[in-house]
């Protein structure tokens, strides 16, 4: 079965093509069926590949030659390793559930088929990405994933904010992509191959100078920063919530943003060879974790809270990787994909039931009205808060343990604080939505069944995935088998899980005291609040700073260039055009019908010809 892994991405591709061809004719049901069928086929094949990989822990590589550059052969193909298999499973599973969910969420949308086409395109790109055996192919699908994200964020073209957000996402991730591309060029220059296996071999044999390894690793990390919304390139991710909620769940929570983490994990030997790069990854990650968590404390848009939560959780994964916690990072990537997708889908259900209202100040008291969605959201919230025995508890513990064992105590402490904040803000969200009484004006409507059962499946996974690595280290052993990365199997100090659980419960309790117990008056949200509150509400003014520093200065530069263009380039162009038309007038005056003039012109031409042919000899 593993030999057919290359077919996995092709199902969504076929679905994409079918949907694009028939996007004007297909009914909603047909379009959804095509999309779901494509991704379901991928899912079943992924499961088969996963099961086979479980039994025989050897990587499967199949490539064909694509380009020859002098002596170097650039290949295309697939490589199925443990990480890739896991990603295949996660991506196709979440994709499948979101595809089903979107049937209900996007009901009645004018471009329903196009939406499924874009989703299929994205699934194709993402599945291909995780199968890529070389950097060039990764880059190719990396960009294609970005295109899918761009199309889907801006899907509601009638919303100017959506268009702006799509543009922003594209431009901001581009900064990271450029760095990634430079890393690829540098690798090719220094190693002479883009095959990951050869790159790793070169790193291990010490063929590469340490500075070069560090540079490449950091450039790759910048690429990951762009895609995974790490500080300072995180600003696009909250804005990307302008897209439809299934998109937010699939792309901006579970899969694409995890691509950055995946990339770092995929090129992990490079990072292991460079302590500086590891430091950078760890500190950027933990800073992002705490930074985004504090912003999430005060946001009032349900999806933005979750978006900042995603940024924060991705920071977790990054600092796990930076602290040599390879398994912990991937583990959290997996669990996070499930519980964050669950949270987003539940948020989508809440949005639907409140008639497209996203402001949590206009919600409240939904527990009584929609107990199913409420309990599903609660499961997601408990998982992300790290309450045992849900999956988030295990993976977060693993991450903090990795930081602690790596001797990064500052990172560890900040991570603990961020975990506490996570519990607080997610339950602030929960209590504001489901606790108290309803504050909105529109009546609450029910949620379609087709949207509920994907959430139930996700909830099962959100609860259960933690146990793949507990009480034995089966998951860790399987993941690192054969790829030379050492899994940390040291026993957990007893105080860590206990302390974390207590911290989470304190966070939840504080949220309950502040937002759950007393029903908060709507008016209290409108107050300007103290300085720290405003600072957080404005997201540390990062967007404003970017606007001042980069956008305005670039606009100034643009004005200068525009003036240059208008007055100098255009002047030149017009001047040349003027000369040409002047010549044309002269030429047309020559056409006066006088044979003698024609003879004269021929004579002058003859002289010019003779002189130009013989000038060299005549001037001797």
């Amino acid at each position: 079965m593993i030999k057919f892994a290359w077919i996995i991405p092709l199902f969504p591709l076929v679905a994409f093509l079918l949907l694009m061809i028939g996007r004007r004719k297909l009914s909603e049901g047909a379009a959804a069926s095509i999309g779901v069928a494509g991704v379901l086929a991928s899912l079943s094949l992924s499961v088969a590949v996963f099961l086979e990989r479980l039994q025989s822990p050897s990587n499967y590589v199949a490539t064909f030659d694509w380009l020859r550059i002098d002596q170097v052969m650039v290949t295309m193909g697939i490589e199925v390793d443990a990480l890739g298999t896991l990603m295949l499973l996660v991506v196709s599973l979440v994709s499948f559930l979101v595809f089903v969910y979107a049937r209900g969420y996007m009901r009645g949308d004018q471009r329903f088929s196009t939406f499924y086409a874009y989703l299929s395109l994205f699934a194709f790109a993402m599945l291909s990405l995780v199968l890529s055996p070389n950097l060039l192919q990764i880059y190719l699908f990396w960009e294609l994933v970005g295109v899918g994200s761009f199309l889907l964020i801006g899907f509601w073209t009638f919303k100017p904010e959506a268009k702006a957000a799509a543009k922003k996402a594209f431009v901001v991730t581009r900064i990271g992509d450029v760095a990634f591309f430079v890393a690829i060029l540098l690798t090719f220059w220094k190693v002479g191959s883009l095959e990951l296996s050869q790159v790793f071999a070169a790193v291990e044999s010490g063929q590469l100078a340490p500075e070069i390894v560090t540079t490449i690793a950091i450039l790759i990390f910048i690429g990951a920063v762009g895609k995974s919304g790490q500080f300072p390139l995180h600003t696009w991710l909250p804005d990307a919530m302008e897209g439809p909620t299934p998109v937010s769940a699939l792309i901006h929570a579970a899969t694409m943003v995890a691509a950055g983490v995946y990339l770092v994990a995929r090129t992990y030997p490079l990072f292991l060879a460079s302590p500086i790069a590891m430091d950078v990854v760890a500190y950027v990650g933990v800073f992002t974790a705490i930074f985004a968590a504090t912003i999430a404390l005060v946001q009032n848009d349900i999806k933005r809270v979750l978006a900042y939560s995603t940024v924060s959780q991705l920071g977790y994964m990054m600092f796990a990787l930076g602290s040599a916690g390879y398994v912990a990072g991937i583990f959290h990537l997996t669990t996070h994909a499930f519980f964050k997708a669950l949270l987003f889908l539940a948020a989508g259900a809440v949005i639907v039931s409140c008639q497209r209202q996203q402001d949590i100040r206009q919600m409240g008291g939904l527990w009584a009205k929609n107990r199913t969605v409420g309990s599903l959201f609660l499961i997601g919230a408990l998982a992300i808060a790290g309450v045992p025995p849900l999956s988030g508890f295990f993976s977060k513990d693993a991450i903090l343990l990795a930081a602690y064992q790596d001797g990064r105590y500052i990172v560890f402490l900040v991570g603990v604080l961020a975990a506490f904040l996570t519990a607080f803000y997610v339950f602030r969200l929960f209590f504001l939505i489901f606790g108290g009484s309803y504050r909105g004006k529109e009546p609450v409507v029910s949620v379609p069944k087709v949207m509920v059962w994907p959430m139930i499946i996700l909830a099962v996974f959100a609860v259960a995935t933690g146990f793949v690595n507990f009480p034995t280290d089966a998951f860790a052993n399987w993941l690192v088998e054969g790829n030379g990365i050492v899994a940390q199997t040291a026993s957990t100090p007893w105080w860590l899980p206990v302390g974390m659980t207590i911290l989470s419960i304190i966070g939840i309790a504080m949220a309950w005291i502040l937002y759950g117990k007393r029903s908060v008056a709507v008016s209290s949200f409108g107050e300007p609040g103290p300085l720290p509150y405003r600072l957080l509400a404005r997201k540390y003014y990062v967007d404003e700073i970017y606007d001042r520093v980069f956008v305005r200065s670039l606009k100034g530069l643009g004005l200068i260039l525009q003036a240059f263009d208008r007055f100098i380039i255009e002047g030149l162009v017009k001047g040349i055009a003027g000369i040409i038309s002047w010549l044309g007038r002269i030429g047309s005056r020559l056409q006066n019908g006088q044979a003698q003039s024609y003879v004269l012109v021929s004579l002058i031409g003859l002289i010019l010809l003779v002189v130009s042919f013989t000038a060299g000899r005549l001037l001797k």
């Binding site: 047309s588 006066n592 019908g593 006088q594 003698q596 024609y598 003879v599 004269l600 004579l603």
Partner: protein, 101 residues
Amino acid sequence: MPVTSYLVLAAILFCIGLYGVLTKRNAVIVLLSIELMLSAANINFVAFSKYGLYANVTGQVFSLFSIAVTAAEAAVGLAILIALYRRRGTVEMDQFHSLKG
């Protein structure tokens, strides 16, 4: 006498003829100027026939043919001129501008 002298003489005559072709407005004079240019070419043929690198009589043969062609050219040119004169009533070169684009 070096061949160059003859060549320069021919070149002078040729250039004068060419100047006549370019500037004279009477078509008959233009035809005469063309005759002059052809004669200048004939001088070259004959000069090379005597002083050329492979001097032989063929140069003179060429010259003979050239004179014959010149005669034909003069006859046809004059006939055209007369036909044109009948149609337009003039032989001034600058009155003929039907070539104008």
